[in-house]
Amino acid sequence: MDSLRQEKIQKFEEFVDRRLKPDLVHAIVERDKIFDQQKIFSDLRKNIENLEKNSVTSLRTLVNLGSEVYMQAEVPDTQRIFVDVGLGFHVEFTWSEALKFISLREEKLERQIEEYTRLIASIKAQIKMVCEGIRELLQIPEEKTVEGRVF
């Protein structure tokens, strides 16, 4: 009986270590990516709002040519802006259109984050359940035999 229990415990532990924990890590990584995207778009929105507020028509920036070598660049007309809408497409927008698009985009990202959060929570719950099961399996033999393991 003991050996059987030990086997089960071993299996549970393996399951936790090999399936659940990597899944958890993976889900967290994906969610972080979405967070980054969200940040990018929120920054863009803020910049556009800034431009609108200050009625900036032309712009001077430093463009990174690569390896942190910059060159001055001038934007004569800031009315048109090209926004990345995914799948390699950039759409020409006016400011207001751009702002609308960005808000739509942000909503979508929010929903994605929500999904990932739920997934992460479920994985964590599963891990806890398995640990609890192992605890149960061990506590019963504990009464009969010498105390084996304490969580």
């Binding site: 712009l59 910059y70 048109r80």
Partner: protein, 401 residues
């Protein structure tokens, strides 16, 4: 030749280097290797980017303006132009920037490229080392799996010890490399080899006029004809010490093979010449003269033979056979009297055995790096122990008592 006096330990290589551990080590090295490979790839990418940037920087000043899409954050662009096409802002690190022209920027980038190249080279060297380590581990693992064994043998006679390693990790002579789990098998092989040599020696001995002279001739023959390792073997065989002879022979046989590079050919040649001279004198001079000649010859051979040590003949004997001395001196002008004497089987000199130079220590013999002095002293004891010009075996045995 009682083998009971030979102690030994047989250590399986797999116990010294457990197979799993070796595999683990091999895997670790492989992981490191792959890490370094990734770093290498990254560095190569940097170098490629650097070169392309150099090209770009060189082309930009060709125009006053360049129409480009100016990025605005990570997800948006503005149509715009590049202006001031000869002014570049370069990051030097630690938030320090500098404005440079195109030419100066190119120079900066070239210097960066050089440092990247040197990094790549060092990384390559590190990877080479790791690869060598990995191959070493692989070979060890395979050998441990095969069941190679490290054999250590000890002799207890005259409180001498000799450890012969038949490890797999070092270069081995064929005789040693063949040593498997069967220690007895290797012993038998060496035993047979030694016996055959003994027979040869006895034949040569009979052919000579005097027993003693023949023996010395044998020694001379051995020295002149073969390497000094064989010389040791012959002497040992002549002495007739059973176990010690066997092992010393085997050891010296191996020694001979491995230390062949140590042999000084010139000295050997001089030795052979002196031997010829000696043969001319056969039957004429007394043993002391022969021993004198040997002494001189041995001095020349002190570096040639791997560890032969000679008993110093008393000066009283030098007065005899001046002709021989002259001959030997002419043959071996390089005699260095201050160098450690080499000992050969000098029967007469045994009576004047200088106890102060008798071997009382232990002999440790390694297959590759022979301890010349210690082996030489071994030779000394074995040779000095035989004193009488009888059959090699009996003479040596008698002396040992």
């Amino acid at each position: 030749m009682g083998k009971s006096q030979v102690k030994g330990t047989v250590t399986s290589l797999s116990s010294m280097f457990p197979a799993e551990e070796v595999q683990k080590a091999a895997k670790m090295v492989e992981d490191k290797l792959s890490d370094k490979q990734n770093e290498m790839n990254q560095l190569k990418e940097f170098i490629a980017n650097n070169t392309s940037l150099i090209n770009l920087v060189q082309k930009l000043p060709d125009e006053l303006h360049h129409d480009i899409m100016v990025p605005f954050g990570k997800a948006a662009f503005f149509p715009g132009r590049l202006i001031h096409t000869n002014e570049f802002l370069v990051l030097l690190g630690e938030s320090y920037y500098t404005e440079r022209t195109a030419k100066q920027t190119v120079e900066i980038l070239k210097r960066r490229g050089k440092s990247l190249e040197s990094k790549v080279n060092t990384l390559k060297a590190v990877m080479q080392d790791l690869k060598a380590e990995a191959s070493f581990f692989d070979s060890t693992a395979s050998e441990a799996a095969e069941g190679l064994v490290e054999i250590r043998e000890y002799e207890e006679d005259n409180s001498t010890e000799r450890a012969s390693q038949s490890g797999s990790l070092e270069l081995e002579t064929p005789s040693v490399a063949e040593a498997d789990n069967k220690m007895g098998a290797s012993e038998d092989d060496e035993y047979a080899r030694i016996m055959s040599r003994l027979e040869e020696l006895e034949k040569e001995e009979l052919a000579a006029e005097d027993n003693e002279e023949n023996l010395e001739d044998e020694d001379e023959d051995a020295n002149a004809v073969e390497s000094d390792g064989n010389e040791d073997e012959l002497i040992k065989a002549a002495e007739g010490d059973g176990d010690e002879d066997e092992w010393t022979k085997a050891a010296f046989h191996r020694k001979k093979d491995e230390c062949y590079s140590y042999l000084d050919h010139g000295q050997r040649y001089s030795e052979s010449q002196s031997r010829k001279q000696l043969q001319q004198f056969n039957g004429k001079e007394p043993i002391e003269e022969m021993s004198n000649k040997y002494k001189h010859q041995d001095l020349t051979n002190q570096f040639a033979s791997t560890g032969l040590t000679e008993e110093p003949v008393t000066k009283g004997e030098i007065s005899h056979g001046r002709i021989i001395q002259q001959d030997t001196k002419s043959l071996s002008p390089s005699i260095n009297a201050s160098a450690p004497f080499e000992k050969k089987s000098v029967q007469a000199s045994k009576s004047e055995f200088d106890s102060s130079k008798a071997f009382t220590g232990s002999i440790v013999e390694h297959t590759q790096n022979l301890d010349k002095s210690s082996v030489g002293t071994n030779m000394t004891s074995l040779q000095s122990s035989g004193s009488q010009p009888s059959k090699p075996v009996s003479r040596f045995k008698m002396q040992r008592k």
